[in-house]
């Protein structure tokens, strides 16, 4: 029995420490999944809160067929998509805010260039289509398997892998423009 399953059992019995531990273990990935969809910190936080509340209300009836994390994140995805639909809001990508990659007047410093390029790459991720964005961030930031990513984005394992590689390839093209 993995630690999540143990914690879920204890949380079901009303153990507040187990409930808090589950929150602490999964709130970061939950936030990043939600943010990957709504692309707004405040909306993502609201969606995550609603998802956690819904999950804990249904905890008694969680059968454990899936991993708790996958189950929780599927609720997060659903909440985030609902938030996005209700707000009809989409953030315009503002790459100008990232600024030029390198200030030409400034002496070249490899560290500065790398950090600026890294910020630019991260900003470009926001411009990817949702499935590619989710596949890239879940794979690189969270180390999720393509199988789990597929479950979260509603695709097969193979399609999740293709979405990931499409996303990376598109970033590569954008970075070289």
């Amino acid at each position: 029995m993995d630690s999540d399953a143990t914690l879920v059992d204890e949380a079901r019995r009303g153990d507040p420490a187990a409930q808090n531990r589950l929150v602490s273990l999964h709130h970061e990935i939950a936030f990043r999944v939600a943010r990957g969809i709504v692309q707004d910190d405040d909306l993502a936080a609201d969606a995550v809160q609603d998802a956690f509340m819904k999950a804990f209300r249904a905890l008694d009836r969680f059968r454990g067929d899936a991993r708790f994390r996958t189950w929780l994140l599927s609720i997060v995805v659903n909440e985030a998509r609902g938030t996005l639909r209700s707000r009809k809001r989409r953030r315009e990508s503002d790459l100008d805010a990232v600024g030029p990659v390198v200030d030409p007047a400034r002496p070249i410093d490899d560290g500065v260039v790398v950090r600026a390029e890294a910020r630019r790459a991260r900003a470009l991720v926001d411009d990817l289509p949702e499935k590619q964005r989710m596949a890239v961030t879940l794979r690189i930031d969270e180390g999720l398997s393509f199988r789990e990513i597929g479950a979260l984005i509603g695709s097969s394992e193979g399609a999740a892998r293709v979405n990931y590689h499409h996303g990376i390839r598109r970033l590569r093209e954008k970075m070289s423009e």
Partner: protein, 173 residues
């Protein structure tokens, strides 16, 4: 492993960036990256994304979630909290108000539902939500995705593993 396929390499680049690849495999991967321009390009992107790090989690979110979960565990009897949680606007409705509202809804909706239902049960929104929450029905939030550039997710999902593999090869991955 004498011959490393590009597909094997690119799949493991995030792990390489995170320092989660065994030392012997690191050498093999580095060797491949030095010889393969396509994989090297992909490595550059993965390394940059890893360098930038993930989106930071807002300060206070964890505490807010702890409070929300406590709220769920200890919801009081006699008043119902609708659509709210700590840190967000709440509407507190007295019990008699909910009862009255439920009566009105039943009076108006029942004839319509009975007429439409016939013999077949009609799933309600609550049913769907419960199924999703219980994992009985994974949400399919992507059905209305208008911007899937990968020639449509449905097409990808319909491909066999072999076909997906070929597609990846053609992509140069």
């Amino acid at each position: 492993m004498n011959e490393i396929r590009c597909a094997d390499i690119v799949d493991r680049l995030p792990a390489l960036a995170a320092g989660q690849v065994e030392a012997t495999d690191v050498d093999l991967m580095r060797q491949h990256l030095s010889e393969c321009a396509s994989c090297r390009d992909e490595w550059t992107v993965v390394e940059l994304l890893h360098e930038a790090g993930p989106a930071p989690v807002p300060a206070g979110l964890e505490a807010r979630l702890h409070a929300a979960v406590r709220d769920v565990a200890g919801q009081t009897v006699g008043s119902s909290v609708v659509g709210g949680a700590p840190g967000r606007k709440r509407w507190r409705v007295p019990s008699w108000g909910l009862a009255a509202a439920a009566g009105i809804v039943l009076a108006v909706a029942t004839p319509v539902l009975v007429e439409r239902m016939g013999d077949a049960p009609v799933p309600t929104i609550d049913d769907v939500e419960i199924e999703i929450a219980l994992g009985e029905r994974l949400p399919s939030p992507w059905l209305d995705d208008e911007e899937d550039v990968v020639a449509g997710a449905a097409v990808l999902d319909g491909l066999s593993d072999e076909a997906l593999e070929r597609l990846l090869e053609e992509m140069g991955g």
